[in-house]
């Protein structure tokens, strides 16, 4: 129980709090919140910096302290890891060795998905039907491949080859239902593709199946969204029919997929490397080349309003990801080899620095099952255990 920084001020510890101390939890650490901000210094100093008058009644909330993520596994790759997508069972990674890999959450290599002619820049799960999973890989070879993977037989099969981009496909994202996906490319375009099964033509599969490079059926995009002036670096579905894309042209654009039109533009001042959207707090987090993680409200009309800026990294922020279960937490990876765990209620400093990587971090991810993942240029995929908490205990 860390109460030493509270001794200077007078406040009452509620009986509830006392009881929770003496209850079954023998050793629980708490964090204290003053007006939505974590108390990271003596209360008086905090009130000074936050300009809270000492005359006011200050309500102090307490929450169970987020415990430090514990390193779990280290999964070695053959080359740099460009992307991670993990669900509760499997971890999908894209790598610079032109393959994607499937790992189990406890760190066993399950499958190597090879088929791209160039670096796999992004990989993502589409959906899972029992043992069959659909996954996507986007590559520098300007294609997106839709794979079908049976976990029982451990066989992977390319279902679609999505051609159409004229630049490397850097990012791909599936819609919440798993029926569509969107890809963003260096050629400044966003393309919406269908993930449905109807276009599979099995008859052509053996014909193109020559040697290593089996050619799956080509598919054409449902829609092309153009509007960015520079390469699209990150794309995501924020709603059933809404796509957000971040680009090197210093903008984040929100697109209406149904109408195929742009809805909103959020203008920053630097290149955006990555964005992440949390349906819990309805905020966009962006990582850019100027070391800052910025939080945006994608629904705002006026565009360029940064809600919050999290600054602690010293290099480009290459990956951000909101916690799937917590509305305040996010994790970020940067070129300064660090992965940082943030709480938006403490924007001055991250909760934890995870300094496991020895080289640039390119991708981070969470699972709902309490796993945090990060991969980078040191060919290592680290997984950390964290304590998922859905609700704030004392709030």
């Amino acid at each position: 129980m860390k109460l030493d920084y509270l001794h200077s001020s007078h406040f009452l510890i509620t009986t509830k709090f006392e009881s929770s101390l003496t209850a079954s939890h023998s050793k629980v650490e708490f964090d204290f919140l003053v007006r939505g901000q974590f108390l990271r210094m003596p209360l008086s100093a905090h009130m000074d910096t936050e300009a809270i008058s000492t005359e006011d009644v200050v309500e102090i909330e307490y929450v169970e302290k987020i415990t430090a993520p514990e390193p779990e596994e280290c999964m070695m790759h053959d080359d740099w890891i460009s992307s991670i997508d993990a669900d509760s069972e499997w971890i999908l990674t894209g790598s610079y060795d032109k393959t994607a890999r499937i790992w189990s959450v406890d760190g066993k290599a399950v499958m190597t998905v090879a088929g791209h002619l160039d670096v796999v820049k992004d990989a993502t799960w589409v959906k899972r039907d029992g043992l069959t999973s659909l996954l996507l890989t986007a590559s520098l070879d300007q294609t997106v491949l839709l794979w079908e993977w049976n976990s029982e037989r451990n066989k992977v099969k390319a279902r679609h080859c999505c051609r159409g981009h004229t630049g490397s496909v850097d990012t791909v994202s599936t819609d919440p239902t798993g029926s569509k996906f969107c890809s963003g490319s260096w050629d400044k375009m966003l393309k919406i593709w269908s993930a449905g099964k109807k276009r599979i033509k099995k008859s052509r599969m053996p014909q193109t199946d020559q040697g290593r490079n089996r050619r799956p059926s080509s598919s054409t995009p449902l829609m092309t969204l153009s509007g960015h002036n520079e390469a699209v670096s990150s794309v995501l579905w924020s709603d059933a029919e809404e796509v957000c894309s971040a680009s090197w042209d210093h903008t984040i654009r929100v697109w209406d997929v149904e109408a195929g039109a742009m809805k909103t533009t959020l203008t920053g001042s630097k290149v955006f490397n990555c964005i992440s959207y949390s349906p819990l707090c309805r905020r966009l987090a962006s990582g850019s080349t100027d070391r800052h993680i910025r939080l945006w409200d994608p629904r705002t009309k006026d565009g360029a309003l940064v809600l919050l800026s999290l600054t602690s990294h010293t290099g480009w922020v290459t990956a951000v990801k909101w916690a799937p279960t917590h509305e305040h937490q996010l994790v970020s990876g940067s070129l300064d080899n660090l992965v940082k765990l943030w709480d938006t209620r403490s924007c001055k400093a991250p909760l934890y620095d995870l300094a496991a990587h020895e080289d640039k971090v390119f991708c981070v991810d969470w699972t709902e099952s309490g796993l945090m993942l990060s991969g980078g240029a040191d060919n290592k995929l680290y997984s950390y255990k964290y304590s998922p908490c859905r609700t704030d205990a004392g709030a």
Binding site: V119, Q142, W186, A231, W248, V271, T289, L335, F362
Partner: protein, 756 residues
């Protein structure tokens, strides 16, 4: 007439004094009665006014004081007097001078009548009656008394004497003629007076004449009377023991006066209200003290201010002494050194010498010389005052915007591209900004992914790569590499498949008909096998080592530089689509360092050691010659607008030329401490950079205005450090990202760094 002198009034005093004048006429008996009577008549004749005054005076005084004493009888007297006088006056008016006697007599008669009346009325006062009687003054020679003498006109006598005998008139035998004769002949005629009472002529004596004269002059009759007797001062400043008046002082003399108080308060009120201005005390306009030198001639002062004091001489030290301490004496070596040195270099202009006594000091041998030199100094060394310019150095710095306001520009190192094993001489970015090519001395060309610093491809070219240049045409994906004496055209196979295939087709599918016009200096050749697999498609063999390759903006022409002192074959321009090469210059204008194409117009920039020549490729003539003012140009870069050139030189300078302005540098920046190796312009942002052997890249903001009158704004904004100086070489090449405000620099430490 009775005078009662009583009391002590001034009036009485004055009267007493007057009485001193007249009473002799009345009180004192006249010495000779006829003379007296004659006198009175004389008065009557000669001075009527006097007589009248006398009468008046006596009468008035009489009435006055008689009134004071007793009223009754005297008042009657007075009335009678008045009557008498009035009758006198009437008679005088009517009568002639001769009537005087008769007149007197009448009055006497009247007086007598009055006396009779008085005796009749008041018996008890008879004793006092003759006190006022003037009858004793009568002429005793004639007893008729004071009657008008004309009464005796018709008689032979004129009266009676004391014995009662008739006094007969003297025989008047004198007629007018006698009178006249008498007047003319008798010397005493003027003093002869006719006495009417006796009827005789009387000759006045000298005393009598004198008395008459004195009286006529208004003087006192008595000679001995002193009219200026000392007066008794009754009212003087001296306090007498007996006060003049014994009244006590008034109360008003010692209580404040209300009237005065009222007057003063009125004045005070008026002053307060400003109706009356109190008289102002005049400040003396002339000050007591003043500046004596205020009007001093300023030229004199100026002369004094410019006065230059002679330089202070050092005081003589021990070495100048005739008997210096031994440590000041020269040793043999010092002496030898002193003699070897030039006179200007010597520490001392003389050799210290020691003498046991002052007597033995010889005469100064250089006396004449020194005098002459001093005079020479005075003559030849005019002293001059150098006015120090009192300017704040801050003010001389031109007002430049703050770097903060000129963002964006690269500020921090973001990525390091590691992999080369030799110094990286050249970097080039693909037109899309996705790829970076670098050529190194380790004989390889590497291709990097910009955003991740991933080395995507390594091409071994078998020689130190001097220069790489990415084809600026976005529809092509080609890289020109200068290795030794060859220029390689590489297809990196990065990016769009269509672009790759089209560029490969361009390289492969060009017609082979190469009209051999004798021995060509440049040989084009296609590669095969392993080299082709690596992406090397074409080799352009040059006669000498190629130092630089650069593309025209359209991507079809390629220029290569082979610095050579002796030959005119220094620059070749190759046309990729037709595989032709030509040497545009016939003459050797100097060692060519660097060439560049104009981004828009058909101009070609050739930098030799000292000049940058601009050639018009269409007209095939030199358009301009820029003087770099530096000893050895290392690199040039052309602004994307085409009107400005920056030029780095090995003497640490960066010169900015405005081609519209002048052939001399518009601005020379000397920020680097060592040779500038490379300069670059950004294609979109107003940025340019220079890389130097001191390991830094300096990024400058350079806004170019469309307005021809406005000069470019050049502000150094950032010094980028990161490269390690290896073998005295720092940053060798620098290039900007085509779309982002990022800069790549390659260094001798085998790394490429990205600053964002």
């Amino acid at each position: 007439m009775r005078w009662s002198v009583s009391g002590s009034s001034t009036r009485v005093q004055s009267f007493v004094r007057n009485a001193g004048t007249f009473p002799p006429l009345t009180t004192t008996p006249p010495p000779t009665p006829p003379v007296y009577s004659m006198l009175t008549t004389l008065f009557n004749i000669n001075n009527k006014a006097t007589e009248k005054d006398d009468d008046d005076l006596s009468d008035s005084e009489d009435s006055q004081f008689s009134g004071l004493e007793d009223s009754g009888s005297d008042s009657e007297d007075e009335e009678s007097d008045v009557e008498e006088k009035s009758s006198d006056d009437v008679e005088e008016d009517d009568g002639s001078n001769d009537d005087q006697d008769k007149q007197r007599q009448q009055t006497k008669v009247k007086n007598n009548k009055n006396k009779k009346g008085a005796t009749e009325g008041k018996q008890e006062k008879k004793g006092d009656e003759y006190e006022h009687d003037t009858s004793d003054e009568e002429d005793i020679r004639n007893t008729v008394g004071n009657i008008p003498m004309e009464w005796y006109k018709d008689f032979p006598h004129i009266g009676y004497d004391l014995d009662g005998k008739k006094i007969f008139k003297p025989i008047r035998n004198k007629d007018e003629l006698d009178e006249f004769l008498d007047k003319m002949e008798n010397p005493d005629y003027w003093r002869t007076v006719h006495d009417k009472q006796t009827g005789r002529d009387i000759v006045l004596s000298d005393e009598q004449v004198d008395l008459v004269n004195r009286l006529q002059r208004g003087q006192f009759g008595d000679i001995n009377f002193n009219e200026y007797q000392p007066t008794v001062e009754f009212f003087s400043s001296d306090v007498m023991i007996h006060p003049v008046t014994n009244r006590p002082a008034d109360k008003r003399s010692f209580i404040p006066s209300l009237i005065e108080k009222e007057k003063v308060s009125k004045l005070v009120h008026a002053i307060k209200m400003g109706w009356i201005k109190p008289r102002r005390v005049q400040a003396d306009s002339k000050e007591r003290y003043y500046d004596l030198w205020a009007n001093e001639d300023s030229s004199i002062l100026a002369k004094h201010r410019m006065h230059l004091p002679a330089p202070k001489l050092r005081l003589p030290g021990h070495e100048e002494s005739y008997n210096p301490p031994p440590e000041y004496l020269f040793t043999e070596e010092e002496k030898a050194l002193w003699e070897q040195q030039d006179p200007e270099d010597r520490k001392l202009p003389f050799i210290p010498k020691k003498f046991s006594s002052l007597r033995q000091v010889p005469a100064y041998s250089r006396f004449i010389h020194e005098k002459f030199e001093r005079c020479l100094d005075l003559y030849l060394c005019p002293r001059q005052r150098k006015m120090r310019v009192n300017v704040n150095p801050e003010d001389l710095i031109p007002k430049l915007p703050k770097p903060k306001d000129l963002q964006p520009f690269p500020t921090t190192q973001s990525l390091v591209y590691r992999g080369h094993s030799g110094l990286v001489r050249s970097v080039s970015v693909s037109p899309s900004g996705q790829w970076l090519a670098s050529g190194s001395d380790d004989g390889s060309v590497r291709f990097w992914e910009v955003c991740s610093s991933r080395c995507m491809k390594i091409v071994q070219v078998g020689g130190a790569v001097k220069s790489v240049a990415w084809n600026p045409n976005p529809a092509l994906c080609l890289l020109a590499v200068a290795v030794d004496s060859t220029v390689l055209i590489l297809s990196p196979s990065l990016g769009d498949k269509l672009v790759i295939s089209s560029s490969e087709r361009l390289l492969a599918g060009s017609q082979e008909e190469n009209p051999s016009e004798g021995p060509q200096p440049v040989v084009w050749s296609e590669t095969e096998g392993e080299e082709l697999k690596e992406g090397i498609h074409l080799k352009i063999q040059h006669p000498k080592a190629v130092h630089q390759v650069t593309w025209h903006a359209k991507g079809d022409y390629l220029a290569s530089v082979m610095p050579d002192h002796s030959s005119h074959l220094q620059v070749f321009i190759h046309q990729l689509s037709r595989r032709r090469s030509q040497n545009p210059f016939r003459k050797n204008k100097g060692l060519v360092q660097c060439v560049a194409f104009h981004p828009i117009r058909p101009f070609f920039f050739v930098a030799t050691q000292r000049y940058v020549r601009i050639y018009n490729l269409v007209k095939q003539e030199m358009a301009k010659k820029l003087q770099a003012n530096s000893k050895w140009i290392s690199n040039i870069a052309v602004h994307p607008g085409g009107d400005h050139v920056i030029c780095g030189s090995y003497d640490c300078k960066l010169s900015w030329f405005d081609l519209d302005l002048s052939t001399k540098p518009y601005k020379v920046l000397r920020h680097h401490k060592k040779a500038v190796r490379s300069v670059a312009f950004h294609k979109g942002y107003p940025l340019f950079a220079s890389a130097s052997d001191d390991g830094t890249v300096i990024v400058c903001h350079g806004t170019v205005y469309n307005d021809l009158l406005q000069n470019p704004l050049i502000v150094p904004v950032k010094v980028l450090r990161g490269h390690v100086i290896t073998h005295d070489l720092g940053v060798l090449d620098v290039t900007f990202h085509p779309t982002q405000p990022w800069i790549f620099s390659s260094g001798a430490d085998a790394t490429i760094r990205l600053f964002t």
